[in-house]
């Protein structure tokens, strides 16, 4: 099934920095920040990460590939979507196979999982919510 990346989700993630969380297998969490990111194909995301950040999150990524991401800047409010996936460090990039998509807007819909929907269904949800016209 195609991962439901709408144009709006892509634009907000690619617009600014991206904050991300990684963890050891026993749940010790750590936060990193990517300068920028780029979506590739339907279900991949590449983070551009400075050397200091790469070195900081390397132990966790070598132990456990799960990563969670939210857009930086105003994206956390205006594009309230958390992505989760499996990450791999390749050179100066972190390449992510996207697996899950969640709503993070505070309200009854917080935590709703959306990756089982199509991009068109996600856009219809946004129209129903009044986020877009």
């Amino acid at each position: 099934m195609t991962f439901p990346l709408t144009t709006r989700i892509k634009e907000w993630y690619e617009k600014d920095e991206v904050h991300f969380a990684v963890a050891t297998k026993d749940g010790k969490v750590k936060i990193g920040i990517a300068q920028s990111c780029k979506f590739v194909g339907n279900d991949k995301l590449i983070l551009s990460v400075p050397e200091n950040v790469r070195n900081y999150v390397l132990p966790e990524l070598q132990e456990n590939p799960w990563i969670a991401l939210t857009p930086g800047g105003q994206g956390g409010v205006l594009a309230p979507y958390q992505l989760k996936g499996l990450a791999e460090l390749q050179g100066d990039e972190i390449r992510i196979n996207l697996k899950e998509l969640y709503i993070t807007k505070p309200g009854p819909e917080a935590g709703m999982r959306m990756d089982h929907k199509s991009a068109e269904e996600v856009e219809q949800f946004e129209r129903d919510m009044g986020w877009i016209r």
């Binding site: 749940g27 969490v29 936060i31 400075p50 900081y56 969670a68 800047g73 105003q74 309200g107 986020w131």
Partner: protein, 156 residues
Amino acid sequence: MKNDSLTETLKQSIKEVKHGGNLVHLATCSIDGKPNLVPMRFARMHDEETLVIADMYFCKTKVNIKENSSVAISVCYPKRKEYPYIIYGDGYYAEKGTKGEGKKIWDSWKNWGAKSLPTEVPKKFRPPNPNCRGILFIKVKKVVKSNFDEFGKEIR
């Protein structure tokens, strides 16, 4: 944690945007290592060593906190460059009926939503009913820099 200039800086940077603070990102994790990262508006320093975040419709965050206390917070918008900090600590959940320190924290912050309505948030993205369901309180253990040239440098 000492009552010094860093503590004062954290107090200034971690509060609602309309009061001059920042949106923060809160990271939690399941006990078997699946991280979760969500933006939070209602975040404040409760005292020199305790940070509080209001539960306004927590979902996985609450599940994770109940099984694993490891949490982290990154300062995000709008002054990330001015306040380049990531804070680590142990998180605990307080709500009606919680005893001990959690009760005192719950009693201090349970009306936070009504006292600090999110009027600066665009209407269509505001919480529809900003009442605290609980309070996540975090015992701060470590603070690191998040500017790229010093990323991860421990300052406490």
